[in-house]
């Protein structure tokens, strides 16, 4: 299961999600989107605990967060 679904096309590369994540899961990529912004990317998916702190600080609703729950 993917914990983070990142709508790269909406990302403005502001870095607030990167700062909000205390686990070093996110980083700004060298890739740019159609708006010309460097996009955020998940560089350490295994460290993600689905706390959604990154998404809470994102001004552009770029990140959707999923969590694995017991059925």
């Amino acid at each position: 299961m993917k914990k983070l679904i990142i709508s790269e096309n909406l990302c403005k590369g502001c870095g607030l999600c990167v700062e909000a994540c205390s686990r070093g899961v996110l980083s700004l990529s060298e890739r740019t989107n159609a708006m010309g912004y460097r996009v955020t990317e998940c560089v350490a998916p295994d460290k993600c605990i689905s706390c959604a702190c990154c998404a809470v600080m994102c001004p552009d609703c770029v990140i959707q967060v999923h969590r694995e729950v017991k059925a």
């Binding site: 502001c14 700062e19 702190c53 600080m57």
Partner: protein, 253 residues
């Protein structure tokens, strides 16, 4: 099993926002949408956008929106709410819009106790027009029109909107919050929920001041701007609830 713990709230459209990277207008738009969603308000919501960077807010909310002349949003909202008392009306205003050209409208709407919810974005600057001094600019803060820093003697003292309006009889709920980190954002969301709950319960006027950033005109990175608000913004503008007459059932009527 896969559970979605965070998604864009349904009241926001899919339109990409025009705000600068890291501008907190986007966070606050989302919080308004989340607060309305939490209260089950969707069909009957009418928002009033200001003049300022949020002038295009009507593109981002799925509810009905009106765009008022500079500073006049509370007057327009008064008409909307009185004509459609069953609707949930929110007003969105920057500090140039609300505390400068629109000071008369906000004071009188608050004094009348109009049953509406005002979201007041205090970023201490005129964003849209290029970073001029606002009534809320901090002492010592440099802007394009206070280049050696705002001085109380030359430019007047910063205006504390919550403190001022909470002295009036009309308002039901007045609070100042911030969005400088995750915890602050969650508190801000709760304040918006309470503001809208006041309106639903017909308790009267509510205003939530949100300390915000304008990274572009602060000349800072988005994160530096948030730290600046945390360290300097909240020192000049203390966070907290300035007035709360209580909701029905809370034993305060």
């Amino acid at each position: 099993m896969d559970k979605i713990v965070f998604r864009k709230p349904p009241l926001l459209t899919d339109a990409p926002m025009h705000y600068c990277p890291g501008c907190t207008h986007g966070i606050v738009h989302r919080l308004i949408a989340e607060a309305l969603d939490e209260l089950g308000e969707f069909e009957n919501v009418i928002g009033v956008a200001p003049v300022g960077c949020a002038v295009f807010a009507y593109n981002y909310f799925k509810c009905d929106m009106f765009q008022a002349a500079h500073g006049r949003a509370p007057a327009v909202a008064t008409g909307i709410k009185r004509a459609r008392p069953d609707s949930t009306v929110f007003v969105y205003q920057g500090d140039g819009d609300l505390a400068s050209i629109g000071m008369a409208e906000i004071v009188h709407a608050a004094a009348r106790g109009e049953n509406m919810t005002v979201v007041f974005i205090n970023n201490g600057i005129y964003g849209m027009t290029g970073g001029q001094m606002a009534p809320t600019t901090l002492e010592g803060q440099k802007t394009t029109t206070s280049q050696s820093g705002r001085s109380a003697k030359e430019h007047g003292n910063p205006i504390k909107v919550c403190e001022m309006l909470s002295a009036l009889t009309g308002p039901a709920y007045i609070a100042r919050v911030s969005v400088h980190d995750v915890k602050a954002v969650k508190t801000a969301r709760a304040a918006l929920v309470r503001g809208f709950a006041m309106q639903k319960a017909e308790r009267g006027f509510s205003l939530i001041e949100i300390l915000s950033t304008c990274p572009t005109n602060f000349g800072m990175t988005p994160q530096q701007a948030l730290c600046w608000v945390r360290d300097h913004g909240t020192a000049a503008y203390p966070l907290g609830v300035y007035k709360d007459i209580g909701l029905p059932g809370e034993g305060r009527e």
